[in-house]
Subunit: 148 residues, 2 copies
């Protein structure tokens, strides 16, 4: 594969990712959840799997724990999550989503489905499946650093 082709592939991938992010965000806002940024979505995704500590969240997002703590402050203040004492470690707090937080997560899933729908029309259902399979194979396991 030539360099210019790799660049074209990269540009297409990044453009699709940017548009997807925007559409999901817009869809979440359209469903009545305001004051949230895309970074919050990545936090919610981590929290929805049984909660997490601030430090775990920081590692997941690829930021300092101070930044993660500040983000948690925000979503707690807005009622999307709450801090609970951590069972088995009195230093830590377990951050868990409230019912409103789970509702917001469902809204994000709906928005994602809505954003993906036009792709299915362009590529067909099998095309989407193969895209999902391929992306799943090359997706990294590490932190979801939303930084560029």
């Amino acid at each position: 594969m030539q360099n210019s082709e790799a660049m074209g592939l990269s540009a297409a991938l990044l453009a699709v990712a940017a548009e997807l992010t925007q559409r999901i965000h817009d869809g979440v806002v359209a469903r009545g959840f305001e004051g949230l940024r895309p970074a919050h979505g990545f936090a919610f995704a981590r929290l929805s799997a049984g909660g997490a500590t601030v430090t775990e969240l920081a590692a997941h997002l690829g930021v300092t724990k101070q930044a993660a703590s500040q983000l948690v402050d925000e979503i707690v203040r807005k009622g999307y999550a709450e801090r609970r004492p951590h069972p088995g470690d009195a230093r830590a707090r377990l951050i868990v989503l409230t019912e409103q937080g789970r509702a917001c997560t469902r809204a994000a899933e709906e928005a994602a489905a809505e954003a993906v729908r036009p792709w299915a029309e362009l590529l067909g259902e099998p095309g989407i499946r193969s895209l999902q399979r391929q992306l799943g194979q090359i997706a990294p396991a590490g932190p979801v650093k939303p930084a560029w």
Copy 2:
């Protein structure tokens, strides 16, 4: 397609995009070009096609023209681009890449190729081709807003 599947596809896509961005950036740095952020790459991509004005760049990046002007200041100061009088509009300036800027663009292409190479091993050459074709079909034409 169920909502949860759309979320999985979205998460994989965004994770791949984030990692790709990081790898390209790292590759560019490894080739000796420092002090650049991923946002600069999108600017370079636009400039390499015959130059652009600050306003065009702002539209392309999805930021205000003040922010674009500031970004241009940076890359001019670092020697990657220069401001020329715009032929046919004395208000405007045409921003064009210097030789160093073009070298940096080539370095980014090499880094992109390097980042994509492991995918070819996972998916095979035909897999990469189909991925590229599919992403090209669903990629939007609009501004490359690197914001999430």
